[in-house]
């Protein structure tokens, strides 16, 4: 999909940030294929899907 746009509710986005999971690497199990917090947690337990921890340094992309 263009721009690697993921269709993820805010609560799952926040959890992904907290845990360093890369959302674009996940398959959604929610309705309509949405990524749920459970998917993020499962990825974390797996240790596989997670990819790199989100970098703590400033990202260049402004709002």
């Amino acid at each position: 999909p263009p721009r690697n746009r993921v269709f993820v509710p805010p609560r799952a986005r926040r959890l992904a940030r907290e845990t360093g999971i890369d959302l674009s690497s996940l398959e959604g199990s929610g309705p309509g294929g949405r990524i749920t917090p459970a998917d993020v947690r499962a990825a974390l337990d797996d240790g596989t899907a997670g990819v790199a921890r989100e970098s703590r340094s400033p990202e260049t992309n402004p709002a």
């Binding site: 999909p1 263009p2 721009r3 993820v8 805010p10 940030r17 309509g32 992309n61 402004p62 709002a63």
Partner: protein, 482 residues
């Protein structure tokens, strides 16, 4: 806070108490940070004192009068008299309630409030000078700072806001008698909102706009109903002209406007336009307030338009200094500033916050209102999606018809394959409120099917949101599907 020439310290120093700064400060208090908020002028900033709130108050009030005066079709015969000074006093009262509310909320959340003008001394120190009462200045050391100094109206050559008949939006919102006539320079959202306010109390309004249409940046089909209603209200438009100068005239000003795209050396010199009016309102845009607080002393950089660039954590180029709101760039909207202010504070508090919204709503409070969120069809295509679009016209909405105002439509954009919502645009009654559901839908990753199969109360305008989603799926009930 101790005043005088002493040095105090604070964990988080916030400069500017507009919707970016005061929201950041309240959030900081909630997160138990030691926070100091410096404001030189008035709590609530531009938005509460001279922007969003006063403009919406006058828009609503003039609407009440205008609707009643034009409801003969509904069997209502009224000829309301407008006392603008009374209206403005009411508006000021609303503003006072809100700004004193902001002050109380700050105090209740343990925010240290400091009145004065802040300038940076170095990257960990500001000086705050207090005018009036000769209270001198003080120095504050901080661990983290948030710059939220907002924006101010752009001035154009020869039109000085200090001159009496030349108004900025702030002054226009405080007139105490209805001008017979008004020239508005600029057909952006502020110019168009105020043009409607005055047209509704029977001012003869002429709008001069450099470009060829109102509301640059919005799709033509969204602008059309606004342009048409403005024309019905008697607003005249002079497109393709820029205001060049003004002279005093019998009852006010004579504004001279020149064709905007005059090519140098053109054979025939096109005629300038001369317009007489009681006053001239200049609303050609806003620019960041980033040049009056010695940002250089702290090492904070601005771009060529004067905005402070930030990353997704609201951080400037200096790691412990953040920026939020109008000074941090477009869109210059209050809710965008509040969101950035909260993110800045949460990041300072060590929370995993980020500016990661999918969709930023924008509202134009013209008549009818325009509201957009997320991507337009064109933007979706540019982003590489293969979008589907659904539309529902308000003239097919029972609720819209019962309000006597059924112009406009709801339009939704979604991905072809799974129907994920990407954006929405609305022009029509309560567009500003209807857009909320679609903003949530986009943030949640909702699909057209999700919106279409949610039961919406009858008779409401929000059914039109559902029907637009159904239309995109080929199964709207109250309009024909393509």
């Amino acid at each position: 806070m101790v005043v005088g020439d002493v040095t105090t310290g604070t964990d988080v120093l916030i400069v500017g108490a507009g919707p970016a700064g005061y929201v950041a400060a309240i959030r900081a208090g909630q997160l138990d940070l030691d926070v100091t908020l410096v404001e030189k002028d008035a709590y609530g900033g531009t938005c509460l004192n001279h922007g969003c709130i006063p403009s919406k108050a006058l828009i609503t009030a003039t609407d009440v009068a205008h609707e009643a005066a034009n409801a003969e079709e509904m069997g209502i015969h009224a000829d309301p008299a407008i006392d603008l000074s009374g209206m403005v006093a009411w508006k000021d009262d609303v503003v006072d309630q809100l700004t004193s509310g902001v002050e109380k909320l700050c105090k209740a959340n343990q925010v240290n409030l400091l009145e004065g003008t802040a300038t940076f001394a170095d990257e960990n120190t500001v000086r705050v000078s207090h005018d009036g009462e000769g209270q001198g200045s003080e120095t504050i050391e901080f661990e983290h700072a948030i710059v939220s100094t907002g924006s101010r109206p752009v001035e154009i050559p020869n039109f000085d806001f200090d001159d009496d008949p030349v108004l900025d939006s702030r002054q226009a919102l405080s007139l105490t008698s209805v001008p017979d006539s008004l020239v508005v320079v600029g057909a952006g959202y502020i110019g168009m909102e105020l043009a409607s306010v005055f047209a509704k109390v029977d001012t003869d309004v002429t709008v001069i706009e450099m470009l060829e249409s109102i509301l640059p940046g919005y799709d033509d089909d969204l602008k059309r109903p606004v342009k048409q209603r403005a024309t019905e209200l008697g607003i005249e438009f002079e497109f393709g002209y820029t205001a060049a100068e003004w002279r005093e005239a019998d009852d006010g000003v004579r504004v001279v406007a020149e064709p905007a795209d005059r090519t140098a050396g053109d054979d025939e010199e096109p005629d300038p336009l001369e317009l007489e009016a009681e006053a001239v309102l200049v609303a050609v845009g806003r620019e960041p307030v980033s040049d009056t607080l010695d940002l250089e002393a702290a090492g904070v950089e601005t771009n060529d338009r004067g905005f402070i660039e930030t990353d997704s954590r609201a951080r400037t180029n200096v790691d412990h200094i953040f920026a939020a709101g109008d000074v941090a760039g477009e869109p210059m909207l209050a809710h965008k500033g509040s969101m950035e202010g909260q993110v800045a504070t949460e990041v300072i508090a060590g929370e995993p916050a980020a500016i990661d919204y999918q969709a930023m709503p924008a509202v134009v409070f013209t008549d009818p209102e325009i509201a957009t969120v997320g991507l337009t069809e064109t933007e979706a295509k540019e982003a590489g999606f293969d979008p589907v679009v659904g539309q529902f016209p308000f003239r097919a909405s029972g609720r819209a018809l019962t309000t006597g105002d059924a112009e406009g439509f709801v339009s939704v954009v979604a991905t072809e394959s799974k129907g994920y919502l990407l954006g929405a645009s609305i022009v029509g009654p309560e567009a500003s409120e209807l857009v909320a559901e679609l903003g949530l839908a986009i943030e949640l990753g909702a699909t057209l099917e999700d919106v279409a199969s949610t039961v919406h109360a009858h008779p409401t305008l929000s059914e039109s949101v559902m029907e637009a989603a159904e239309n995109a799926l080929g199964r709207a009930i109250h309009t024909l599907n393509r």
